[in-house]
């Protein structure tokens, strides 16, 4: 069986862990109704509008 010839250096180990643990911010748009950032194709969590329509009453939640 193939076996690693060398133990990975601390640098290589850290580089692997760093690049595999990056958290990405979701792509955000600006709500045309209230100008708050929101995720596209979702109801705006700030004002409850979607496609120009009041879908959810935020105060009721």
């Amino acid at each position: 069986m193939g076996v690693p010839k060398r133990k990975p250096s601390r640098s290589a180990q850290r580089k692997r862990r760093a690049s595999n643990s990056v958290l990405n911010l979701p792509q955000l748009s600006v709500c045309p109704q209230c100008a708050a950032p929101f995720v596209p194709h979702r109801v705006c969590p700030a004002c409850g509008h979607y496609k120009g329509r009041q879908v959810v009453n935020i105060e009721a939640y």
Partner: protein, 182 residues
Amino acid sequence: MRHLKRNAKLGRKGAHRNAMLANMVCSLIKHKRVTTTLAKAKAVRPVVEKMVTLGKKGTIHHRRLAVSRLHQEDAVQILFSEIAPQHQDRPGGYTRIIKLMDRRGDAAQMAIIEFVEEGDAVVASSDEGAAKAEAAPAKTDTEVAPDADEAKAEAAEDVPAAEADADAADKGSSEGQEKKDA
């Protein structure tokens, strides 16, 4: 082989799943709108559409077919007397699924499923409910739309809060703000 079997299993056996879907259809019929996970909403939609189609045919035979699927005669009564007539001219597509933000806790994708003809009425009634429950704050919510300046002022308040949430998930706060500014 499990080829071309597209229905979501939803972690249940067939009988359990069918019972749950029937209950969800009945809830949707009674309340006109249901907030659930996206997967369940998508699974319920074909069942609802078939029930509305039965309702549009409207004979005693079709009513019995609907009862045999849904097991709730009161819901079938509402379906045949109220919902089916509203959708008489609509050739399918009676429901609408609107995606919501992910659920806090398990990050499940959430969605609203509602009848196309009833959607605005549900929002209006929830507005009334909120107005009764908390008279002052609910009113400000409805006034946001016409008053642009007020909307921007409120948005400015909302932005730092949203960023704080996003930063909690992000490693560096400065990184998060840069992306949002860009």
